[in-house]
Amino acid sequence: MSNPTDVVVVGAGPAGLAAAATLGRHGARVTVVDEQQRPGGQIYRQPPTGHTRTGRRTEAGRALLAEAAAAPHLDWLPDTVAWGVFGTRAGLDDYAGPAPAPGRLRLGVHTPDGGRTLEPAALVLTAGAYDLPVPFPGWTLPGVLTAGGVQTFLKAQGLLPGRRFVLAGGHPLLLVVAAQLVAAGAHVVEVAFSQHLRTLLPGPRDLAAAVGNAAKLAEGAAALRHLRRARVPVRFGTVIRAAHGDPELDGVVLSRVDAAGLPVPGTERTVACDVLALGYGFVPSTELARQAGCAVAWRPAEGGWIVDHDDWMRTSVPGISVAGELTGVAGAEQAEVEGRLAAYGTLQTLGLLDADRAAALARPVRRILARRRRFAAAVLSRFAPDPAALNALVTDDTVLCRCEEVTAGDIRRALCDHPHLGTANAVKLLTRAGMGLCQGRSCQPAVCRLIAEQTGRSPEQIGAFTAQPPVKPVPLASLAAAARQHDDQG
């Protein structure tokens, strides 16, 4: 099916909104697809239509949403899942030319009205990131949530998902969410931060990088002050060891860790709570890009596998650009700037912007980006979780793949029985870890860490679960309807 769309932007977070608005302003016909009901992505999340808004959106978010709403040539497809990109891999020879012909890329989408395709000349993928799941005994109990999930409750519905909260993890978002919870009237019993405070204090290099990024640092510092004022204990060098309760969470075990981040035996203590919010960082949502064939790179400090790109944000697949968290987790401001850059690159590919003008428009954007990247490299990287420390939280009985109920012990045994196996895909095939409804999102990092520990192989050798369409579950009936639609049109 053909339609008059030049570019499809997947994701309406800061990266997608900035890309779409910039593209539209320069004359490209844009369709924005997002599985959420309303634009905004994770950080500028708006409540669903019909609900009253309770969260507070930042100035930047408001401005960006307004800019996108005002941009010409923009078509919105809310409640729509982009599940597969077709026509990019076979016949790589065909891609010798610089510009993809219109209709070359085919995007399968599942809309509330059923399945269909969009066939743009270019795609900008801005699918964002999701919370890094961290398994430990009891992590699958009801009441164990991610910090991002708790925040979503707050932002989207103005709801507190419990009464007594413990927050544990190693990402600065933990402090922000804890402060938001306190502000919303929740009882935060404790914030357990896995790193030791001294490893978090900025060095001279970081201070240089922080110039121009003061707002970001200030956010964390303000959150910490807020918590201190509310007398919420924030303990550094402390990790979650277990969650208890039947059928629901009623308490957690915390313990101290040594300088290497490994638990110190004998320091365990139990804290009563009904919600545990975990915040260890984010994993870029690379699955659609990987499914399309875009090359990826392993960048542990930026969330793991990220999508490779050139300095116009173009991936290895002609016609496909990326922006935001799937190029490395670095926050909303960087996502927005990358979105604009991806737009300038795409506009050149489409012939809507000449190289000189694009370079001129990109110059201020690149300056901001360079500053953001320095900051991300120097400061955010020290929050990257250490694989050995995360593995130390896992016992043999700990379920890694909750969909298929595969434990760490199952995977260790499979690797012992089959010493000739050592890739993520091989372990998936053998154990079913990653074969469930979440399509491996919740277990892949932990499974790969375990394979690395057991086999001594590198993350590059172990790889990721192959990303296949549909990258999100799609009802069989929707796919079948799409087949009939194609038949009807010959």
Binding site: G84, F86, G87, T88, R89, A90, G91, L92, D93, R106, G108, G115, T117, E404, H418, H420, L421, G422, T423, N425, A426, L429, L430, R432, M435, G436, L437, Q439, T466, Q468, P469, P470, P473, V474, P475, L476, A477, L479, A480, A482, A483, R484, H486
Partner: protein, 389 residues
């Protein structure tokens, strides 16, 4: 460097099963696998144990069907072999033989079903064409559009995740050697033996060599200066989320591409020959890249599933592609390669369903026994005029 009685190239179902038979008989066997055991077709397939003729065998008219039917003796053997396989290997393989149904929805399809069943009965395969209340009672889950079905009680499924590793384990237990992550890059005669080299500079010798290299078989044969008429095809599979048991049988369709079954875990698997696009690079097929999934295949396969309405509400959670080998006459390619003493090949056909049978027959040839089924119809010699110098 080491010397073996037999070197088996390929760690798929065929390679591992052949090695098991040979090792069990006390010979010295090496399996060389360029990736990991079960990494390719043997681990990617639908796991159907279909002993009726498949859609692809009957879709091109009666003459083609008659030709394809020459593999039916293997189907009959395979039916017996699978029933005893788990006991023989001492390992679970997910074998469940609860019957298979080949569906027909139009009068023309019903007629095709009748002709097919008649042909199968000639070979001793007891396929009954059911319709009306008898069919509804056996398979109440079928859509009203289904008029008749060819029923074979011994059909079913096995678990491709388990079968080949089980063969590999059994072979290792009997002393076979397995070398994974090593690609055979050269194969030639050297003083009455075969010498095979792997990329790392290592080379070994063997009295006999079995090419069980799936879609790479032609590439390996070419190293021995033999052209084999085998072609790679890309195929598509999809899986739904798990659900409560709803589909006890193997489902196929006589008039279109469809295979459907429910795994022990509860996922419904869809397949049946929907193509995936082979990747080409510089104008040539690149067998080292997985074929590209086609939108039309995913949606077409989903549409074909309408014969079981209850599955339509389930979410598809993943799909994948794989490659398998076809021959020009759709029959297996099994046996000694003419004018290459000691070189054997096993590929082509439905080599999951028929794989254990191919392996047993080829192993008995290698061990110098007379195979208990005639293999002439499947022998590489049938392409002799064309291919062997």
């Amino acid at each position: 460097m080491a010397h073996y009685d037999t070197a088996v190239i390929g760690g798929g179902l065929l390679g591992c099963a052949i090695a098991w038979h040979l090792a069990r008989a006390g010979t010295r066997v090496l399996i060389v696998e360029k990736d990991q055991v079960n990494r390719h077709a043997s681990g990617q397939n639908a796991g159907s144990l279909h002993f009726q003729l498949e859609f692809r065998m009957v879709e091109h008219g009666d003459d083609a069907a008659r030709l394809a039917a020459r593999a039916l003796p293997l189907h009959l053997d395979a039916q017996r072999t699978w029933a005893g396989l788990e006991a023989a290997l001492g390992a679970p393989c997910g074998v469940a033989l609860r019957g298979g149904l080949m569906l027909a929805e139009t009068p023309a399809e019903v007629a095709a079903l009748d002709r097919k069943a008649a042909l199968e009965r000639e070979y001793g395969l007891d396929v009954q064409v059911l319709g009306g209340p008898q069919l509804r009672e056996l398979a109440p889950y079928l859509a009203d559009t289904v008029r008749a079905a060819g029923h074979l009680p011994g059909e079913g499924k096995a678990n491709p995740r388990l079968v080949t590793p089980a063969f590999a384990h059994a072979a290792l237990r009997h002393g076979a050697e397995l070398r994974t992550g090593h690609r055979v890059t050269a194969l030639h005669r050297d003083g009455g033996r075969w010498r095979l080299s792997t990329g790392d500079g290592r080379s070994d010798t063997a009295d006999t060599v079995v090419l069980a290299a799936g879609v790479w078989t032609a590439e390996l044969a070419a190293m021995a200066d033999v052209r084999l008429p085998v072609f790679p095809v890309g195929l598509t599979m999809s899986a739904t989320a798990r659900t409560a048991p709803l589909l006890p049988h193997l489902i196929q369709h006589v008039g279109r591409r469809l295979s459907m079954k429910q795994t022990a875990e509860g996922n419904v698997l869809l397949g049946g020959g929907w193509p995936a696009k082979l990747v080409t690079r510089h104008g040539r097929t690149d067998l080292d890249r997985n074929p590209e999934l086609r939108y039309e295949s995913l949606t077409g396969n989903a549409d074909a599933a309408r014969v079981v309405p209850a599955v339509m509400r389930l979410p598809i959670i993943r799909s994948w592609s794989g490659m398998t080998t076809l021959t020009p006459d759709q029959l297996p390619l099994l046996g000694p390669v003419p004018r290459r003493p000691g070189l054997h090949v096993a590929t082509g056909g439905s080599a999951f369903t028929l794989g254990p049978t191919y392996a047993r027959l080829l192993a008995s040839t290698l061990l110098g026994d007379r195979p208990d089924l005639p293999l002439d119809d499947y022998s590489p010699a049938r392409f002799g005029a064309l291919n062997f110098v």
